[in-house]
Symmetry: C2
């Protein structure tokens, strides 16, 4: 269905139904198919098409090439009381991450903190839904993950770092605060879209093959994405990549593979960290947090702004609107995914 | 001594000697005085005068007003096997944080991860030296802390958030990678310096009292510092502030006090998190990390750049140079601190 704004939308049920059918047809067990489909839905519902159903052809290609095993069962092992090591056994990412989240939700109310270090899991999708699950269980959560080298280090041209996102959720008693930010200025998907439409990129978002800043999306495809906040974003991205590699034993820089291509074994890693505020002996802090957030939301906006947002507010609103109006999926993608059904 | 560049420098021994003498005179026991003096030295050695000996008059004022007890012994309590709660009992910050670091260094090789949640400690100084100590012990470390509201939320004028720094260190086998970044574009000290000299601020670093971007440092003093990376830095800063408050039970926003003033009880909090890579069952990752860092450092520089740095490289070089050439301390500050000696 095309709505009044010219956006092609499908219902939540159609979206989930098609993904689940395709994944089941490719050999995923029911629960794994539903969990992967659920994460593709979250990407599109929140307006991040690059993490939406557009990923399904890549997953299908990976399964077809034998580098992703849709029926794999992850292996979870507590190496200490607070360290969970997870081998995804080259399976779909969301089932692996959901099992890790469940293990943390069970464990952390006793230990106060725990870390899940995940290797050999497929692309997790957006990180926000995982930390949201931790927050719903009353835990503060952090998540980070490595990804293919698309971002240049500060001061040089070549893409050497992932867009390495960091996500966090803090329980507030009501809707949690949820951060989910990439450390690159823009996504690879956006560069591709702008290049296809011949539109310029925002200033400072990318460099060309020589490392000179460019707004030409085609030149940026041969170059690299610029880190957020210049040298600080570069430093943050690098440290996240090293932390993930240190604790999961996964690859670094250009050796990171397996979420964009259809041919290479997955070598990226993921970390989930959860904290139980109630075990820190500080009493109930949620009412103070909720009051502070309301203070922020009701500040008079500065010139050129319409309001102050708390991280997670926008995604929450966009998600609710798209659940009501229909999930935006461009027609080409939708047709392509329908072609993946088993005939 | 004034060197050839017109910079006033003192020897490491003079710097430590004067701070220690002043602090001892104010009632600090020997070790606490030395640890506090050591952190003031680190600030000046690394070129961050705002965390250097310039802080000593504030500490003296706080002690004089009875809101900082230089002889306090911190109370450390493991509430779980991996959660250390620390009450600084309004003492000097560095001795409290050093005790927490030592407890983590002892504990984490067994548990794999632990968190120290610190409240009622004085200003810790730069965070880098604490995470460096963790890295020297083979641990990956994270640190963050809240501070007085100086940074505006994205979209509004008033200062509502601290410059909330995040620090991290990753062991590499050699010199660790060390991140220590504030989430504000510039420090309050820099705004004050520029205002005193009538020099403009960099574009995008601050807003005036109405929330409009300004390069006028005097106008910025009535306004607020802009978060790094715009909305993303705001979101990161807010989440760090909420995480600290959730786990330490300390204050938020404008209620955060006790590191810049001389009159108010300290209400900020600090978090230290340590991980033992060896307990994550992934083998030795340090050689791969060291090779990757060398690859970054030897990339050909992009136009307008002279080299690629790894986080911590610059601080390491500046520190070594200043140890050799003498610690830079401006003459006015040095004279003022000498005036704090007990006559």
């Amino acid at each position: 269905m095309i709505d009044a704004d010219g956006v092609h939308r499908v219902s939540v049920d159609e979206h989930l139904g098609l993904s689940t059918e395709v994944l089941t047809g490719l050999g995923a067990p029911d629960r794994a198919a539903r969990e992967q489909a659920g994460m593709l839905l979250e990407g599109d519902l929140r307006g991040h098409a690059s993490h939406g159903i557009r990923r399904l052809p890549v997953l299908a290609g990976r399964i077809g090439n034998g580098v992703l095993d849709p029926a794999a069962e992850p292996e979870l092992r507590w190496t200490t009381d607070s360290v969970l090591t997870v081998d995804g056994r080259t399976g779909l990412g969301p089932p692996v991450a959901h099992r890790a989240v469940e293990a943390l939700v069970e464990r952390v109310p006793r230990t106060g903190v725990a870390v899940a270090a995940i290797r050999r899991a497929g692309h997790l999708g957006m990180l926000a839904p995982y930390v949201e699950r931790l927050a719903e269980a009353g835990l503060a959560g952090l998540a980070t993950t490595t990804s293919e080298a698309l971002v240049h280090p500060w001061g040089a041209a070549p893409a050497m770092l992932g867009t390495n996102p960091i996500a966090a959720a803090i329980p507030t008693g009501g809707q949690p605060v949820v951060l989910d930010m990439a450390t690159g200025q823009i996504s690879r998907g956006k560069v591709l879209d702008h290049a296809a439409r011949g539109e310029p990129l925002p200033e400072g978002a990318a460099v060309d093959a020589e490392g000179a800043p460019t707004t030409d999306a085609t030149a940026a495809l041969d170059g690299a994405i610029t880190p957020v906040g210049g040298p600080k974003g570069y430093a943050l991205s690098l440290v996240l990549e090293l932390l993930v590699a240190s604790l999961t034993g996964t690859a670094l820089g250009r050796e990171v593979r397996g979420t964009l291509d259809t041919t290479d074994p997955v070598t990226k890693g993921d970390l989930l960290i959860a904290f139980a505020p109630g075990l820190f002996g500080v009493g109930r802090t949620q009412p103070a947090i909720a009051a502070f957030l309301d203070e922020l939301r009701t500040l008079p906006p500065a010139p050129g702004h319409t309001r102050v947002q708390v991280p997670g507010d926008r995604a929450h609103d966009v998600r609710a609107r798209n659940r009501f109006r229909g999930v935006p999926v461009d027609e080409t993608t939708w047709a392509q995914v329908q072609g993946l059904r088993r005939r």
